[in-house]
Point group: C2
């Protein structure tokens, strides 16, 4: 059901040849209201793609009528011509939908540096075709159209207290934290104003997408958008809405992790006993980004020494000789020394759990990551060819 | 010639079974004087191996008589027992050499968490055998004994103005900056006091080993030691000595890069036009650590978009639309947009040059790194087995 699960939304996904496979490559999501509330978070990469530069401005007033998304080209570092492509995309959509161009967000994903005249023509064609195909059942098609190296479309839906939230996400590589780390559109029929939508979205992405660090590489194009139509007529309890949105974002983040390029393990790094949440996040992220640790997990090797070596590069409060590490339930390191034999750890399941107790406080954080595999190297060395 | 090229030094390399292959695994380097000057820089990883904890204290007074080094086990996170092993190693060497234990440095390299009773017995046996085998021709054996996954021993020698500097290095993985990033021993017969040795060493490692970032992973055991015997009787010109030491350190750093685990490209990232040297280093390191960039180079793909995406994650002064990138002499990106077609770039040679002009100032820095390959993943997933 994806982004059309909530009342007041229509979507479509069409194929216009941006992907050489002929698969769907342009998605349109439209908010039919009555409210046209929108909020978005963007990559913190300072090298921002043209759609990011456009959408940052377009969302500033908290009003969003539609989102046009394409795969098959990032339209990043394509100069003034590329920015005009984004601008024209928003204008074409606005014209056909009879709304203001400044209320249309644009998202692109694919190879950086791709955005020539042929690309522009196809994106504009897809915008037209997508709008012509809009329907309240189009959420699944839209979720398929934003896929790049994703092997499955990623959607999630929650219904509670008379309102619904639905979302779609894409992202299989270049997954690392900014404010956002992929293309995600979430829609709800709850009654939210722009300030509420913004606050709920930022609070939710901070503990979901921002805790996913598949390969340490931050994208130039990532955007997470929340649209609210108010079509349910229900003003949600703020706490209940936020809790549900966090839950939905975490499901989508898990789905991104599960489909990460070439990964053979989905690794949950749970840091406990930290002096602060910031420390816990720094430690988890440092381990998640350590290539030697990631390669060891690929080889089903419970190499806790690489975990401690990674922790040692952080500024977090900890004593190296007061750290405990467990892998898949087996305590392999106690107080910075060997504990149970490595042979007891079974790392063959895809789901992998690394528990790090810093013994320095009460704070916790969980980071999701993946292993470093032959397939990751292969996919990313052959990506542009 | 290695560490015995300069007058006043003896060395040895022996095999005692720390390596399952039967190759040499314990090295001893002794300074016969007349001066016993020593200086060292250590990993900045906060998780430090026992030999680091010992050597940091032992070098503090600027007097070093000998260095005992072993491969086949890092003696890191091996608890109080492991520290006693290091201590006993220094004491055994001191007893046999008739010097103070506090003037003997110890270095270890190999798997973290390795340091049981069998390890201790072999290291002590190797210390005795190494001292018995000391000779002024032993530098090559010592260089071989410190190898781990290195495929070749790494040595360099410079002679100038009546004095000589010789060095040996090991390191093929977990190569990333701290103060030092590998095991290196450098010896000279120039007349240097401890303060001079320390200043020259720090100035030299800062622009050589610290600019090598093969895989972003900082070791727990890295140490670079400079020993001065004064046996030439020559007080060197300070500037000439430093220039020569930098040159020698850079040669050793290049040799580490050329032999990095699994690498198929030795990549020189030259950053120019930076507002400060710090900015240039940050930008170069950010690109060097980007797995997507590293995988692209493996695939001979001049993917400059990934270079710009990596730069975008830094705090350096730059405008994304005023950056130029060349690869192996071909300008693929001008002012943040596509320039020459990627087909013109030949990335088949092992030596790869990436030139980044930030157009933001006059400062420069060069970072050495490697690509991300199937062999890197393989070696590091199978490392401990």
């Amino acid at each position: 059901m994806s982004v059309t699960a909530a009342q007041g939304f229509e979507a479509a996904g069409v194929a216009v040849g941006l992907k050489s496979t002929g698969a769907k490559d342009v998605a349109v999501v439209v908010n039919r209201g009555p409210l046209k509330t929108g909020a978005a978070v963007f990559t913190t990469n300072r090298a921002k793609a043209n759609p990011i530069l456009w959408s940052e401005r377009a969302v500033a007033d908290g009003v969003v009528e539609a989102v046009v998304l394409n795969s098959g080209g990032a339209n990043c570092f394509t100069g003034a011509f590329g920015f005009q492509t984004t601008h024209q995309t928003a204008e074409r959509a606005a014209e056909l939908l009879d709304v203001a161009a400044g209320d249309v967000l644009v998202c692109s994903t694919g190879l950086i540096g791709t955005g020539d005249e042929a690309f522009r023509a196809k994106v504009l064609e897809g915008t037209e075709a997508g709008i012509a195909a809009l329907s309240a059942a189009g959420g699944q098609d839209a979720a398929e159209a934003i896929m790049t190296t994703d092997t499955v479309p990623k959607t999630a839906v929650r219904t509670r207290d008379g309102w619904t939230i639905g979302g779609m996400a894409k992202g299989a590589g270049m997954l690392a934290p900014g404010l956002a780390t992929m293309l995600v559109v979430i829609s709800t029929d709850a009654v939210l104003d722009a300030a509420q939508a913004d606050a709920h979205l930022r609070a939710s992405t901070r503990v979901s997408f921002d805790r996913l660090d598949s390969d340490g590489c931050m994208s130039t194009n990532d955007q997470v958008t929340l649209l609210a139509s108010g079509a349910s007529g229900v003003e949600p309890d703020e706490a209940a809405f936020r809790e549900t949105l966090i839950d939905l974002c975490r499901e989508l983040a898990r789905k991104l992790q599960d489909d990460a390029e070439g990964a053979s393990h989905a690794i949950t790094i749970e840091v406990v006993g930290a002096a602060s949440e910031e420390d816990a996040v720094e430690v988890g992220r440092s381990v998640a980004r350590n290539n030697l640790f990631k390669a060891a997990i690929f080889g089903n090797d419970p190499n806790w020494g690489r975990v401690l070596a990674a922790i040692g590069t952080t500024q977090a409060a900890f004593d190296p000789y007061d750290v405990d590490v467990s892998m898949n339930g087996v305590r392999v390191c106690t107080k910075g020394g060997p504990d149970r034999p490595r042979e007891e750890v079974d790392l063959t399941p895809r789901a992998t759990h690394v528990l790090i107790d810093l013994c320095a406080g009460e704070a916790t954080a969980t980071i999701l990551t993946n292993d470093l595999t032959h397939d990751y190297v292969h996919e990313n060395s052959a990506y542009s060819s």
